[in-house]
């Protein structure tokens, strides 16, 4: 963004929205929106409490375990679908269905299958993140230049080599964008899991604060969550830019 010829750093519009928030908050129009500065000072207070740190670790654990499974399973499955017509025909309808399904409605099923503990929350996170990762990895492989595949074949590449030295790298730009969207969906998944399955982590804090109308606390936790997912998304966008130079010519 350029204003008066000065190049502003990306996302500087956030500052504008922050100021607006502060003004609206100070006008005391609604209890729902306390001034941003007070939210921050609340964050400073609760940020070091045991309750908060425990919630942060619980949420972080579920989030990273869930996305790890989504990536470790989703990328190979997507690549296999891109490589094999048969596997693709078998799995594609399911992937498309889950991609557009209202996954929240499936969370009770997760509870029945995996109980009321951490396991169900982790797998709910996976459930939210995995489909877009599968679909993007598949699309990445389908984009591969045929002659790259033939080249590897003609020099005697083993299936494993072809997979790890050609298919994976050729599909990497799409894979990364799938992972980025997957992470964003996982944030949603982990919170929904924590709200519906067992009241732990940030889900528990949301429940507690909104139930008692502690809006400053509520917003403080939300800001932390936003900060985390924003950082991860930006990091992945950065990785994506690193491979962009070959995304256009494969």
């Amino acid at each position: 963004m350029n204003i008066f010829g000065i190049k502003l750093p990306s996302m500087s519009s956030l500052i504008l929205w922050g100021i607006l928030w502060e003004i609206v908050g100070r006008l005391k129009l609604t209890f729902f929106l306390p001034p941003l500065s007070e939210v921050f000072s609340t964050l400073m207070q609760i940020g070091t409490t045991k309750v908060f740190l425990k919630a942060l670790t619980e949420t972080g654990y579920a989030f990273f375990a869930g996305t790890f499974i989504a990536i470790a399973v989703g990328i190979p499955v997507g690549i296999l679908m891109g490589k094999s017509r048969l596997i693709d025909e078998l799995l594609l309808p399911w992937v498309n269905m889950f991609l557009s399904a209202p996954l929240t409605a499936l969370v009770p099923v997760m509870m029945v299958l995996f109980g009321f503990g951490m396991k169900a929350i982790v797998l709910t996170t996976t459930l939210f993140a995995i489909w877009i990762i599968v679909l993007n990895s598949r699309a990445g492989v389908m984009h591969i230049n045929r002659s790259l595949v033939e080249m590897a074949h003609s020099f005697g590449a083993s299936p494993m080599d072809a997979f790890s030295k050609v298919y994976f790298w050729a599909a990497l730009p799409e894979i990364l964008s799938g992972v980025r969207i997957g992470f964003i969906r996982a944030v949603k998944g982990v919170i929904i899991g924590q709200l519906l399955i067992s009241i732990v982590g940030f889900g528990a804090l949301f429940e507690l604060y909104s139930g008692q109308f502690l809006m400053k606390h509520f917003w403080a936790v939300l800001l932390v969550l936003f900060g985390i997912s924003f950082t991860i998304a930006e990091f992945l966008a950065h990785l994506q830019r690193k491979v962009a130079y070959y995304a256009t010519q494969r």
Partner: protein
């Protein structure tokens, strides 16, 4: 199968193709095609677009199975790709995420050669094709002609006896193309390999080949084999003005022109 006559011919011919048929569904690409490729020489496959040149080359490479017929390389029947053949692709087929050095060494990497060894070999061929100083560049930083040099160096570095080139110069400009043709003649002279070279340029075929095989349009078979011999010893410039060269170009054109339009 391997009687005496067969063994003798195998000594003279690096690659033999016997009665090969190939269809894509209803499209008959090759029909009863037979052709021999003399060892240490360059044979070009010349024919109108869509006549099955790439198909034949990929069958020899082991990338495509023939419907029937027999292909041998150094007397061994072809069942798939092998270390005795190396392919140069029309669209280069370089790994866009890898450096020139890794691309050139990639054939050796897939064959399990150790890193230091394969990079030493790759360095040599990078120098041979005139890309010194570009070892750490990526393909997108190179011109089309330079990219094809990388593809050529990669094929040379695995040291296969048979080089398969599918219209390698089609995507480069005319000046570069002429330079490449001269380089190719030098390669044939010094590398002691058998070259099979697909082109649809008559001039190019006559200029670089020891033997030109003219393919008829689908379903394709060899209609004529021409061996330009008289001007092989001449230097690069005078070939293009040699009467025999011009004669052969004319002759091929008149036999192909009936199929154009």
């Amino acid at each position: 199968m391997s009687n005496n006559t067969c063994d003798i011919s195998n000594d003279n011919y690096a690659v033999t193709v016997r009665n090969v048929y190939k269809s894509y569904g209803d499209v008959k690409a090759l029909k009863d095609l037979s052709l021999d490729f003399p060892r240490g020489q360059l044979t070009s496959l010349l024919g109108p677009s869509g006549c099955g040149k790439t198909t034949l080359l990929k069958i020899i490479a082991g990338l495509l199975p023939a419907d029937s017929g027999e292909i041998t390389v150094n007397g061994h029947p072809v069942t798939g790709p092998g270390p005795d053949r190396a392919f140069v692709f029309q669209d280069f087929a370089l790994l866009p995420w890898a450096t020139v050095l890794r691309n050139v060494a990639f054939g050796l990497e897939l064959r399990g050669v150790s890193k230091s060894e394969r990079e030493a070999i790759a360095e040599k061929y990078i120098a041979d094709v005139g890309l010194c100083g570009f070892e750490n560049s990526h393909p997108h930083e190179l011109s089309g002609g330079m990219r094809q040099r990388v593809g050529l160096a990669r094929a040379l570095s695995v040291d296969a006896q048979v080089m398969l080139l599918d219209e390698p110069f089609a995507a480069v400009d005319e000046q570069t193309r002429r330079k490449f043709q001269e380089d190719l003649l030098n390669l044939v002279k010094h590398e002691n390999k058998t070259f099979i070279f697909v082109t649809h340029s008559i001039e190019e075929a006559v200029y670089v080949s020891d033997q030109v095989a003219i393919l008829l349009p689908r379903p394709s078979r060899v209609s004529e084999i021409i061996k330009p011999e008289g001007f092989r010893h001449k230097d690069a410039d005078s070939i293009r003005r040699d009467p025999e060269y011009l004669d052969i170009v004319d002759r091929i054109w008149s036999s192909l022109r009936t199929y154009v339009e």
